[in-house]
Each structure stands twice: as C-alpha cells, then as structure tokens.
C-alpha cells in the first residue's frame, strides 16, 4: 500500500486563515492537525493540534511552567483567546524549519511511519507528482492499513 491510497482530501488550510479558525476546523473535523498549502496547492507545512495548543501558551509561561498553576481556572479556560489575531502565516514565520512534514504519493507505509516518527507528528501531507498536496494522512490510518494487511 502507498501513501496516495490513504490520503484524504481534508485538513488543508491556507496561510491567510486565522489560527482560531484552524483550531475550530480541527475540532469540527476531528483531525490531529491540518496541512498548510500555498495558493498554487504546494504543501508548505503541517500544523499539528499540539502546536496550536502550544501557540496558545504565552512564551513567559513556557519559560516558567509553574506560572501555569497560578492562573485561575476561568482565565485558563480562555487560553485560545490569544490566537484570535494570529494567522497561519504568522505561525510559519516563527516555525522551526522541520515543520514541513510531507511524503511523496508513492511512499510506502514504512516510509510514512519513518517520517512521522522522525518528526514526532501523527499527521503528514501527501504530495502528488506535480508537487501539489493530494491530501493528508494520519498515524491512525497508517496503523489501520498495516493491521488490515496482517
């Protein structure tokens, strides 16, 4: 089985989308992340849900995690409020270079698993022969496909 067969045409967002909307789509579509594509369809990056959560944590609390405990429950519940003005492009500008998790359409399950484990993500973009994003692939679908072959 190859990546193309598992790719789902879901979870693609553009750089101008707001991170708040991206978070909403993750919840509504039940996805562990979303793929960012350029206007011409080229995959640019993978945005895992864990990273979106990380963006909601102020840098000063990341530096001193004990401060997370002192914030009251009502304020902590509104952690996503800080993302309202942030766009996906803003995230990519500050992102680490290895954020781009892409596999070619003909990658085998082993190749996909290898990239996921190297990048420690559960979500990748599958690119077609023309370099455009075909869709996304999740760790769950890779495990499911492998189990079905066993």
């Amino acid at each position: 089985m190859i990546a193309k067969q598992l790719a789902q045409p879901v979870g693609l967002v553009t750089t101008s989308d707001s991170v708040h909307d991206v978070a909403r789509r993750m919840v509504d579509e039940g996805l562990p992340g979303l793929a960012v594509v350029a206007d011409d369809g080229r995959p640019l990056a993978v945005l895992p849900a864990s990273q979106v959560l990380g963006l909601a944590v102020p840098a000063y609390i990341k530096d001193d995690p004990s401060l997370a405990r002192v914030v009251d429950e009502a304020s902590a519940d509104r952690l996503i409020d800080g993302l309202a003005s942030l766009t996906v492009q803003g995230v990519l500008d500050d992102a680490e270079p290895d954020l781009l998790g892409t596999v070619p359409h003909d990658a085998t399950l082993l190749e996909v698993a290898c990239v996921m484990s190297q990048l420690r993500v559960s979500f990748l973009v599958v690119s077609g022969p023309d370099g455009k994003a075909l869709g996304t692939i999740t760790a769950q679908s890779v495990l499911g496909a492998s189990l079905s072959q066993a």
Partner: protein
C-alpha cells in the same frame, strides 16, 4: 617583545568581546591559545600559581552558587513572592514596580543577577498582561535594580567575587562597606523611577481585579522542598557571614551549599547541570589565564606604577579616578573582563602606596564603579543583555537607546551618590 605580544593578544580579545564579533568564550579561548602558543605562560603559571593562574576560588564560588540557585528555582519560591507582592499592591502600577524591583534587588544580593532577572521576567510578564500594562518599563527597572542590589554583597555580582578573592575581602566586608550606599542608591532609584517611568503607570480597576485572582500558593509545587531549600540557603548565608571566623573560603561555603541543595531538593542531575552556566565558568578561566599572562610579563605592574605616579599619593584622586573610570568603562565593555583586568592593577597600586587605600577604599570604588556602571548601557552588564533578549522573545523589543536612556540616568545618579559616601566614610 613578549610584553608586546601579551598586550597585543589581550587587546585583540578585548575588542572581540566588546564588539561581539565572535562569542566571548571563543574570543577568550582564542587568546588563551595565543599566550600558550607563544610560551608567555605555561601550565604551571596558569593552573597552579596564585599570582598568575586561574582563581579557582572564583570558579568554585560561582559553581556552588549556581547549584544553590538551580535547587531554589525548583521550589517556586520566587514566583510565590513576586505574585504575593503584586497582590499586596492591588494592581497599582507604581507600588507594583517598587515591590518587584525591591524583591529583585534583594534576591540579586544573594543570587547572581542573570539568574534573578531570568526568574523575575516571566512573572512580570504575567502580572503586566493581567494589568494591561506595558511590561518594558518594569523589565528595565528590574534589571537596573538587579545590578544595584547585586553590588551590595560578595556573591551578588561576578565582579565582586573577583574583587573579594583578589583582595581577601569577606561577605561581611562587602555587606558592611557597600550595603549602606547600595541602600541609599536603591531608595534614590525608586524615587527616580516614579518620574522616569511615569508614562507606564496607568491604572485599570477591572484589570487590577484579575491580578487578585492569581493564586501564588500554586507556584509552590511541594512545600517540603521549599522548606528544605530555604534551610540550605539560610545555612549558606550563615556560612558566608561566619566564613572568616570559621577559617574557610567562600568557595567552600558555596560548594557545600550546592551539594547540600542537590541532596535537600532532589531532582534529575541533568536538571541541575543544565542550570550551571558552563560557558561563563570557561570564560572566567580564560580571562584569568589572559590577565595572568599580563602579570607574568610585567604589564600590570607597569600600569599600576604609572597610575601610582599619576595620582601622586592623593587617595582622593585615586578613589574617584577608579570610581568614575570604572563606571565609564563598564558602560562600554562587560564589567567582568574589566574587573578581572583591573583587580591586579588595584592590588599593585595599593601595595605601591598603602596610603592610597584607607579602609580598602580603592576596592570599594572599583566594585561600585564597575557594578553601577554596568547599568549605563544595554551591553554594560550580562543581565541587561539577557533581559533585552527575553523581552524581544516575548514580543516587547527594547532598543539599545531605549534602555540606555533610562540606564545612563540611573548610573549617573547612583555613581554620584557614591562620591559623598566614599569621601565621608574613608577619606575625610
């Protein structure tokens, strides 16, 4: 020829440190390679000599205190105190600045300045975001207070550690001689802050209520660890106070404290080692080798003799020359290499003419000039550089001139305050 080589290598290293063309530790180690390669000093002079070698008292005092701090930061004590202070002010900006800067200054007297500002910056951001206040004036005020407060003790600022070791001055000597003027300087700084940071003091009663919702007790992960950490800190401070009568060096007190802290506040060894600033320790070692090379070739002796002739037996000229000269130079270059270089010069100056140094006034003027001068510019002290870096990362960039505008004014006021103090106490 050897003298010219040693001085040449030293100046190149100094320029590289000042211009930050290469990391400072690389610059220093490059210079060390140079003095070894041309044979100015060897292993005997650099590793074992008290005159020209690495000052291991300084290295191990720093290492011990870094371990003590690494344990303390695991307890959440600092976060607790900062949030408790913020709640006592009920969100009023100026009292908040007074309490946070006072807390920073007191902590800086016991811990190193960089660590203190690293601890206070995140909690400042949290409180300021709650109060809808611009955190930049608060961060600048805290680093200025850190440099002022750190000047009051042997362990508060790295230049003091170098001076203490070179001049054999104890923790109590520093506290008794520098404590009063630092207290005066701190009061003056707080009064000055009311005026220079006045634009930052906007009060929002609704935002103030949100500060009261913070629960400082949650910062303490384990009260038992906190108690144990405080007990170790108390023993370390008592050890510093009694160090002279106990007949042990400050470095031994710090190393015992560091070891005790690792036992009392157990945690992964890697976590403790992560908070030891190995680069700083290597930087110090390299500096000592380079300055030792200058001592070895007689350059330091020649400079001290020239200074002795220049002041012509006048302790007033020597004291205030060192005070203002140190403040001016520490504003431009990091005060650590400056003091590492000047300490043997001052030692020689005092030895050449003991009447110049009543009550160790030359050492106190060197410490005050270098410590307070570090506030003048954004690059004057390591803590300034660290806070500016943190502020940028948090989305509040502080420009060189924005910092310097406040820092220079505070430096001028605090250094000028030292003049009557030194005059009345040691020279009148």
């Amino acid at each position: 020829m050897t003298t010219a080589l040693a001085v040449g290598i030293f100046l190149v290293v100094y320029v590289l440190i000042a211009t930050e063309r290469v990391p400072r530790v690389v610059a220093v180690l490059g210079g060390v390679a140079g003095v070894f390669a041309v044979g100015i000093v060897g292993a005997q002079e650099s590793f074992y000599s008290e005159e020209t070698g690495i000052d291991w008292n300084v290295i191990f005092l720093l290492l011990g205190m870094m371990l003590v701090v690494a344990g303390l930061r695991r307890t959440g004590l600092f976060e607790f105190m900062a949030i408790w202070s913020a709640k006592r002010t009920r969100g009023r900006p100026y009292p908040l600045l007074v309490l946070l800067t006072t807390l920073t200054a007191v902590a800086s007297a016991m811990l190193d300045n960089v660590t203190t500002v690293l601890l206070v910056a995140p909690v400042t951001l949290l409180v300021c975001s709650r109060l809808k206040l611009n955190p930049i004036p608060f961060l600048i005020a805290e680093v200025l207070a850190s440099n002022i407060g750190g000047a009051s003790t042997l362990v508060g600022d790295p230049p003091n550690i170098i001076i203490g070791s070179r001049a054999d001055l104890s923790f109590v000597d520093f506290l008794v001689n520098l404590g009063p003027i630092i207290l005066i300087a701190m009061v003056a700084f707080l009064l000055l802050s009311r005026w220079v940071f006045r634009d930052a003091f906007t009060y929002d009663s609704d935002a103030a209520k949100s500060v009261m919702q913070l629960d400082e007790r949650e910062a303490i992960a384990d009260p038992k660890l906190l108690v144990r950490g405080l007990v170790v800190l108390a023993f370390v401070l008592v050890g510093f106070v009694l160090q002279r009568s106990l007949g042990i060096d400050p470095s031994i007190v710090a190393l015992l404290g560091g070891g005790a802290m690792m036992l009392a506040v157990p945690g992964p060894t890697e976590e403790y080692m992560k908070h030891v600033e190995w680069e700083t320790l290597v930087f110090f070692m390299g500096l000592f080798v380079l300055v030792g090379a200058l001592v070895q070739v007689g350059a330091i002796d020649a400079l001290a003799t020239a200074l002795t002739d220049a002041v012509a037996g006048d302790p007033v000229a020597a004291t205030f020359g060192i005070l203002f000269g140190s403040a001016a130079l520490s504003a431009i270059v990091d005060n650590i290499p400056y003091v590492a270089t000047m300490s043997p010069v001052v030692e020689q100056l005092a030895a050449n003419d003991p009447t110049l140094n009543p009550g160790n006034v030359l050492w106190w003027s060197l410490a005050l000039g270098a410590d307070l001068g570090g506030n003048a510019t954004a690059i004057g002290a390591s803590a300034n550089v660290v806070v500016i870096g943190i502020a940028k990362r948090y989305g509040y960039p502080i420009s060189f001139w924005q910092f310097t505008r406040y820092g220079l004014l505070v430096t001028v006021v605090t250094v000028v305050l030292c003049v009557p103090y030194l005059w009345l106490r040691y020279l009148a």
